[in-house]
């Protein structure tokens, strides 16, 4: 999943000469919290609703700004941006590390979209969500080449369709694979996997 799959477009922007009042109004009207700032159509900064609220408040360093001040005087710059072809986790990592809530998306010099924390949450829901009727399987695999292949081949041979597959490091030597498979019979699938020697964590073995 790439940034271009989750970004919002078209992007609303303001010119750096726009007033704080008008920039704030744009955000209110469109229910957004981030506005890229442009000079002659090129991205030069970004401003958030909190930036504006702080700038006009008594808490602002050096006293409150006037509502008619230019956005360019308070914007954050340079702007951190993403490329449409970046993987979503790359965007997430950057936003997390720099503690920012949005990344304008640039294709060369052209502003083509914006991606926010909310869009990344949407991506998470899609990546882990239930798109089709399915049950959950969790398998602990040794962290070495071919193990995941062995698992998916086995399911393929049994005619079991995999709707989604997530893997994450479990401990230094193993990886946990979480699958959603298109069958109500996950207990039977788990039994078959155990017979094949797989370490199945879910579903558990039933007595009876």
């Amino acid at each position: 999943m790439l940034v271009r799959d989750v970004m919002r477009r078209p992007v609303l922007t303001v010119d750096e000469r726009a007033t704080l009042r008008s920039a704030y109004q744009v955000m209110q009207d469109h229910h957004i919290r981030h506005l890229p700032v442009t000079r002659a159509g090129k991205l030069v900064g970004i401003v958030t609703d909190r930036d504006i609220r702080l700038a006009v408040s008594p808490l602002a360093e050096g006293g409150p700004r006037h509502l008619e001040a230019a956005v360019g005087s308070i914007m954050s710059q340079p702007v951190l941006s993403a490329d449409p072809l970046d993987p979503v986790e790359e965007a997430a990592r950057l936003m997390r590390r720099r503690k920012i809530g949005a990344l304008p998306v640039l294709e060369g010099e052209e502003l083509v979209g914006i991606v926010t924390g909310i869009d990344l949450l949407d991506a998470l829901v899609i990546l882990t969500g239930v798109e089709k009727p399915s049950g959950r399987l969790e398998v602990r695999l040794p962290d070495r080449p071919g193990e995941l292949g062995r698992l998916t081949q086995f399911l393929g041979r049994e005619g079991i369709n995999i709707h989604s597959l997530l893997t994450y490091p479990d401990d230094p030597k193993t990886v946990r694979a979480v699958l959603r498979v298109g069958t109500p019979m996950t207990h039977q699938v788990a039994e078959m996997l155990r017979i094949e020697g797989f370490n199945v964590i879910w579903p558990p073995q039933k007595k009876g």
Binding site: P184, Q188, G208
Partner: protein, 378 residues
């Protein structure tokens, strides 16, 4: 007054093969058990539902593909319609076999509309996973929704209750935006179990908002926690909605012996559940209800749970032991030991160390669910 029981031998043609858990054997064991107790179930002059009746809830393109599969003309894209999969394989005559079950559930609804009965037990059906344009999870067509739609078109308000261990997703989605259908499903959480839906925030849309209720339960939920949440959700929901009739899917797969899921109910819980259910039918829906079967894949447990449902509905006392001859016959057939008593032995019920945590979690779900839906109960 006894409760009419609907059954026809054609119900047994709904079968996905000898290895498949959704087996007509469950019905054979149940009928022979009732017979051994002197309650032989007579066959009724039932009819399969017509194509038009199926089309009241399903897309024509799905029906066309099921009809094709039925006669061996399998379209290339049947997998997109949930057919020809490991769980819902293709079998000759599947269209008609399913229409028999739909016809039975529909007839139960008609008997109530005609005033011939207040409660009807349909010994089959409960195919709650089938969706508008997709068969799913052992369910080709949705008999429950066909019956529900027939009732709502006659002007009735229907409360659908689903105690199968799997979420009643098909029924929920088919009626998702309908004001006149309240759906209530208690099931093992979709985080683990098929079909994966049935979270508390699925509460309906449009006119149906606040009228679709789900109680996802933690794996290894036991009797007390189940009954506690059942009462906490059903009483306020039914007291508010006041249905004209209830349609109840009585899947028996939340039992601890069930091989497909992870709830650990005992037969004692089912007894309390069926009695409580019937109280609600009397108290909140004018005594009118259609009961269907559903999931239930431990032959041993499912037979006993459904036998109990039959006996309780007819007002018969519950025998302590199962008939010896019946048990020996089926032990010979299945090559495994069967529980000799109607109820589970106390020492067979699993001990669950995480119990307090599970009870707490389930209760938390109920609190949040009611917070979500109550604003719409005006």
């Amino acid at each position: 007054m006894s409760v009419p029981v609907l059954y026809h031998p054609a119900y047994k043609t709904y079968t996905f093969g000898p290895e498949h858990p959704f087996s007509p054997r469950r019905l054979e064991m149940l009928l022979s058990l009732l017979e051994a107790w002197g309650h032989a179930v007579p066959r009724r002059p039932l009819q399969p539902a017509t194509r038009e009746e199926v089309l009241t809830v399903h897309a024509e393109r799905l029906v066309r593909r099921v009809e094709g599969c039925s006669v061996g003309e399998v379209a290339a894209d049947v997998e997109h319609y949930g057919l020809g999969t490991a769980d819902t394989p293709i079998f000759p005559g599947m269209d008609e076999a399913t229409r028999w079950l739909v016809g039975g559930t529909l007839e139960a609804a008609r008997m109530i509309l005609r005033g011939e009965a207040r409660e009807v037990l349909q010994l089959g059906g409960g195919l709650h996973h089938a969706q508008y344009d997709r068969s799913s999870g052992f369910c080709v067509y949705n008999d429950l929704s066909v019956a529900i739609r027939h009732l709502t078109r006659a002007g009735l308000r229907v409360a659908y209750l689903d105690i199968d261990v799997h979420h009643g997703d098909g029924v929920q989605w088919i009626h998702y935006d309908e004001a006149e259908v309240l759906t209530l499903s208690l099931h093992e959480s979709g985080r683990y179990l098929f079909p994966g839906t049935g979270a508390i925030y699925e509460i309906g849309k449009g006119a149906g908002l606040g009228r679709k209720l789900n109680v996802p339960l933690e794996p290894f939920t036991q009797d007390e926690s189940y009954l506690e949440v059942f009462e906490a959700v059903l009483e306020p929901a039914l007291a508010w909605f006041r249905p004209d009739v209830m349609v109840i899917q009585c899947g028996a797969d939340a039992h601890f012996l069930d091989p497909l899921a992870d709830l650990v109910l005992s037969t004692r819980a089912y007894q309390k559940l069926f009695l409580r259910m019937r109280e609600y039918v009397r108290e909140f829906s004018g005594g009118k209800a259609v009961y269907t079967l559903g999931g239930g894949y431990s032959l041993d447990a499912t037979t006993r749970v459904w036998a109990m449902l039959y006996l309780l509905l007819q007002g018969h006392p519950l025998p302590d032991r199962l008939p010896e001859a019946w048990r020996q016959h089926w032990e010979g057939q299945l090559h495994k030991a069967l529980t000799p008593t109607l109820h589970d032995a106390a020492d067979s019920i699993p001990k669950i160390p995480r119990r307090p945590e599970i009870v707490r979690h389930n209760w938390g779900q109920v609190v949040r669910l009611l917070e979500l839906v109550k604003p719409y109960w005006t």
